[in-house]
Amino acid sequence: MTVPHLKHPEMYFGAITFFAKQHKEDTCGSNGLPLTPNSIIIYGKAQILKTIKSPYLCQYLDIIRGKHERTVVVSQYCGQSLSNYLEKNTFTIEDIKRIAYQILTGLNELHKKNIIHRNLSSDNVLLLENNVKLFNYGLYYMTDNGKLVSFPIFLTNPKVDIWSLGIILVELTLNKHLWHSLKLGQRIRKILSLLQSNSSIFERIAREHNCYELYLEIPQEVKEIIELCLNVYPQNRPSCEELLQKEVFNSFTKPTEFNNKKLCQPFEIFTINELYHWWQLAGGDLIEGTVLGQERNPATLYDPRIVVMPLDTLYQRFENIPLECYYPLIQCKSDIIALAEPPPYDATGLPLIIKERDPEYQFHRVILFRRLLHGYPFTKDLIIKEAQKDIPPLLRGEIWATLLNIKSDYKKQYLRIDKFTPTATDRQIEVDIPRCHQYNELLSSAEGHKKLKRILKAWIYQNSQYVYWQGLDSLTAPFLYLNFNCEAKAFACLSHFVPKFLHKFFLKDNSAVIEEYLAKFSQLISFHDPELASHLYEINFYPQLFAIPWFLTLFSHVFPLYKILHLWDKVLLGDSSYSLHIGLSVLTQLRDRLLTSGFNECILLFSDLPEVDIEKCVIFSMGTFNSTPKKYNPPRTRK
C-alpha cells in the first residue's frame, strides 16, 4: 500500500561492467609483495565517485569485484537516454537549450573535480521529465585514464567532452542518429575527414545527412554554441565555464543558482543509497544470471550494455509496511498518539547477524536512525539508547561519529594538519600499512594505503605527547573502513577514541598504563573466575605474555574487521575498562581448554586465536561490565 512511496522516479539503478587488466603471473612489486590486482586499485579509486551528488549527474552507488578481475559499477539510472528520443519526438529549440545547459552544468561539476567524462554521448545522457542526468562519467577516472584496463581509452583533456557535447547537440537539432548506418571503421574515417574541412563542421554534417534546410532554421545563438564545440583543435574549444556564460543560457542561470544556495539541505526520508541497500538485502543480485556474470572474453572486456535492475522483489517485500513507518515519532509525549502507532517490527531474540540481513528490520532501523542523526546533537541521548539495541551497518560510520562526539568543524581541523613532512616514523608506518587488514578490499587498495598513511601522520603530528606504537595502524583501520570517503572524519573518530578508551597507551613510555591494565585484568579474572585465575597463575600464564595487543589496540589487531565492528559498537557505549571485560569473556569462551592445558598449550591458543563468537562475547562482557564492583573497574580515564 505504500509502495508508491518507494517508487520515486529517480530511484532506479543500473549497472555496467568491464574487466580490469590482468597482471602477468608471478610479478612482484619492488617490495617483494605481489602487485595489487588492478580491480582492487579501481575499487579504491572509484569510491570517491559515490560522494558526487548533483541534479545533473547519476549518483554512483556501488563497485563490486567479480571473478577474473571483473568490475561491476552500480549507479543511479533513471529516465531514458537521449538517443532513445532521436528520430521520434522532436525537441523544441527551448528544450535543446535547456538540455545543453544542464549537460554543461553537470560537466562543469565534473571538470572542477578533475574528472573527464570521456564517454559522453546521447546514449548516456538520461532524460527524466525536464531534467538531464549524465551517466557512466567515472570510467575514465576510476581506470586511471584507462591505464588499469586493456580496452582502448586514450589519454586526453577535458576539451574532449566539449566536442562530444557538440555532437549531441547536432543530433538533437537535426533529430538524427549521426552516421547511423555506417560501420565503426567508416565512421572513424568520416570523423578524420573533418580534420581537413575548411567550412563549418556543423554545416557539413547537416548536408551529409540531408538536413541542410533544418540546419538553416536553427537560431544563430544555438549554431554558435555548436560551432564552438566542434572545433577540431581542442585548445580552441571553449571550457564549460566559458560556454555557460553565453547569453543563450541566461534564462536558466538565475533561478537554479537561487535553488542551489539553500541554507541547509532538505531532509530526505531515505536516499537512493538506502533503497539500494534494502534491495540487496531483499535478494537483489547483480552478478547472477545477467550479462554481468559472463566469463572473461577478449571481445567484451568492456561491455557497453547497461543492465537496469528490477525492483519488484523489494516492492513486494515492503508492500505491507504502513505509511506511518516512514515517519517514526521520536519524541512523543502523548500516550494516545503513541498507542496509535503501528506495533514495532519484532526482531527481538534474533541473532545480530540475521537482524543485519533482514530487509524490513533494516528499513525500520535506517529510517529511524536517519531521523535521529538529522537531529544530532539534540538527539544524542536517543541515539545512545537505540545504539544499545544494535547499529544498522549502513549508517555505522555516522552513528559512531556521533557517539564519539565529533564536532562539525572536523574537516577544517584536518585540513590544517601537516600530513606530508617526512618524519622518523615514516619507515615504520610504511612497513606496517601493507600488512594491516589486507584481506579487506578497501584497505588493500592503493587509495586505502595513501589515506591510512595520511591519517597516521596527521595523528602523530597532532599528538606530540604520543608516539606511534605498532598497532595504531590496526586501531585506525575500522575508522578508515567506515569513512573511506571522508578521511577527516576517520581522523576525528580516531582522535576522540584514543583519549577516551586508550588514555596514555601511546605515551613513549607506556609501561605504567599497560602494567595497570594487566594487573586490573588479573584481578578481574580472580573476581569472576577464581578457579581459572589460580590455574593460570600456577602454570605461570601471565597476561603480559598474550594480552598486550588486546588492550593496546582494543582487539583491532586480534580480530578481523567484521568482528571488530560488532565489538566496537559496544565499546563506544562503555568506558575504558570495557576492554578488560572483553578479555575476560574471551578467556571464558576458551575456559575448558585453558583449565585442562599447561603453559604451552595455553599460550599457543592465543598465538593463533581460535574462532571467538563475538555476539556471545559481547553479551557476556556487557554482563560482567555491569555487575563488577567499581574498584575492579576503570583505570583512569581523561574527563
Binding site: G32, L33, P34, P434, K508, L545, H557, S607
Partner: protein
C-alpha cells in the same frame, strides 16, 4: 656463490659443534625429548614471523600481520634419535617494544637475529641485537644470524660476505634465508637444534 655456500656450510658445522656442547635444560640424552627455547629478534618487517610460520606450518603469507608484544609457537622435530621440541618466541620488531624483549630472551637457549638483505639499516639493527644478547642473555646462548628475503637478491643491499665476516668474528651461525621460497628455513632451525 658456490664458495660462499661452502663458507656457510663450514660455519654451520662450526656452530653445530659449538651448540653440541651447549647446556641443555633437561639434561637430554639420546632417545630423549629435548625442549629448546628459542627467540627471534630483529627490526620490524624483516620477516621474523614469516620464518617461524614457514618452519612451524610450512606456510607463507604475503601480508603477514605485524607482531605486537610477542607470539609463541612450537614445533617438534626428530634429530637423529632425539626429539627436539622448539618453543619459539617471535617478538615485535618495532624499537619501542624493545623493553619487552628481555622477558622473551631471558633463559633462551638460542636466538635467531634476523635482518632483511635489501635493507642496510636492518643489518645495523641486527648487530645491536647481537651485542645486547652477548651482554645480557645467558652466556651459553647460541646465536644465529639470518639474512632474510633472499628471494629479493636482485635488490640486495647487504653483501653475503659482509654478513659472513661479521658472523665469523662474533661466533654466530649464519645463513641467508627466504621464508617465501623456504630456502634455508628448516636448515637454520635444525643447525641450531644440533
Amino acid at each position: 656463490m658456490v664458495a660462499a655456500d661452502e663458507d656457510r656450510l663450514a660455519a654451520a658445522d662450526r656452530m653445530a659443534n659449538r651448540s653440541g656442547t651447549a647446556q641443555r635444560p633437561n639434561g637430554s640424552t639420546q632417545g630423549k625429548i629435548c625442549q629448546f627455547k628459542l627467540v627471534l629478534l630483529g627490526e620490524s618487517a624483516v620477516g621474523k614471523s614469516s620464518l617461524v610460520l614457514r618452519f612451524v606450518k610450512g606456510q607463507f603469507h604475503e601480508y603477514q600481520e605485524s607482531t605486537i608484544g610477542a607470539a609463541f609457537l612450537t614445533q617438534t622435530i626428530c634429530l637423529d634419535d632425539t626429539t627436539v621440541k622448539f618453543e619459539i618466541w617471535d617478538t615485535a620488531g618495532q624499537e619501542r617494544y624493545h623493553s619487552l624483549a628481555p622477558m622473551y630472551y631471558r633463559g633462551a637457549q638460542a636466538a635467531i637475529v634476523v635482518y632483511d638483505i635489501t635493507n642496510q639499516d636492518t643489518f645495523g639493527r641486527a648487530k645491536t641485537w647481537v651485542k645486547e644478547l652477548q651482554r645480557q642473555a645467558s652466556p651459553n646462548i647460541v646465536i644465529a644470524l639470518a639474512g632474510n628475503k633472499q628471494d629479493l637478491a636482485n635488490k640486495r643491499m647487504v653483501e653475503f660476505e659482509e654478513a659472513q665476516t661479521y658472523a665469523d668474528e662474533n661466533g654466530l651461525l649464519f645463513m641467508e634465508t627466504s621464508a617465501k621460497t623456504a630456502m634455508n628455513v628448516n636448515e637454520i632451525f635444525l643447525a641450531i637444534g644440533k
